[in-house]
Point group: C2
Chain length 177, copies 2
DNA sequence: GTCTATAGGGGGATAGAC
DNA sequence: GTCTATCCCCCTATAGAC
């Protein structure tokens, strides 16, 4: 990307922000265009369809999160694997909370166009968490991985949406325990 | 309710099931009517609007969950308050998983008609959890309550959607720890 | 109470000038 | 690349027969 398309990025940001507040289906392309400060035609110049746009948003967010977590885990000291994963995840939410919210709300849905890649990423997340639990010598069944995943998701949003004064380390401590 | 309206209940069930899979906005009244086996006119005979119907669904589900949890907590033995809350919550999801999924996905949204009552119920849940944490002699900051809430939500859905063989007590143990 | 038919509006998407 | 104008479908909601 030598010269990144600025309109395209403005559209993606507006789309993420709106969908985080109202959901994807309730967000219209007119709203996205207006919030991004471009005409609707420009949205369709940059993206094939609304659906393709949100598919991209979701898979990109998941991929970035997975990369970030894997990198952090490689350098984790003994006994801190889970905390390291949680910290990396929370930092990702800090960086792009809207995208995180969109992904989180789509997480439970089954009948969606982008569901396949989402389910695959969900599995990656869970097995990464199970690995981390094993490395820390903790219980590591599916339900334990699910518990940590849910905890870090909810703590992350509580922090971003309702309690911005909560420190990162306080959040990590609560979610990783 | 001497003679409960059967059509009305069929409509509500279908509406919950469809919205759990696709989200509320993506679910059409035509689909709801068809899945319930009634005409669209009958949907509007029983409910003022689609929005009113889902508002009812959500507030009812939250109220039932709150009642169930408060009752369970009253009878909890020392040191088992958190596990008791989690167990009551998971049993509620077992009973009506679709309604639980609808509520969970709406939990993060800010721009929705039913948001006010949802936010109020969210606060009730959090303070109930904080009480339980205190009673068990555990850390009880907002982030700790959020962690337990997220854990029980995610474990509940993991169990209902992907791992039905997971026992209730295994789920409770993972989410309450 | 339940149906069919239809009104009315808003949504995604495209065409074509600049 | 960005805009305006427009198409056309589908969605919510209503009217009115039975």
């Amino acid at each position: 990307m030598a010269r990144p398309n600025v309109s395209r990025q403005k559209v993606l940001d507006a789309a993420a922000e709106l969908a985080a507040a109202k959901g994807i289906s309730a967000t219209t392309v007119d709203e996205i265009a207006s919030a991004a400060g471009v005409a609707k035609g420009s949205v369709y110049y940059n993206f094939e369809s609304k659906e393709a746009m949100y598919s991209l948003l979701i898979t990109d967010a998941l991929e970035r999160a997975a990369l970030r977590i894997r990198a952090a885990l490689n350098n984790a000291a003994d006994g801190t694997a889970v905390a390291t994963v949680v910290r990396a995840f929370l930092m990702g939410i800090d960086e792009h909370p809207a995208a995180g919210k969109v992904v989180a709300t789509e997480m439970f849905r089954l009948d969606r166009p982008w569901n396949e890649s989402l389910a695959a990423q969900r599995d990656v997340f869970f097995s990464t968490l199970q690995d981390a639990l094993v490395r820390d010598g903790r219980e590591s069944s599916v339900s334990d991985a699910a518990a940590v995943f849910g905890a870090m998701l909810m703590v992350g949003f509580e922090r971003v949406v309702f309690s911005p004064s909560m420190s990162l380390e306080r959040a990590v401590a609560s979610a990783a325990r």
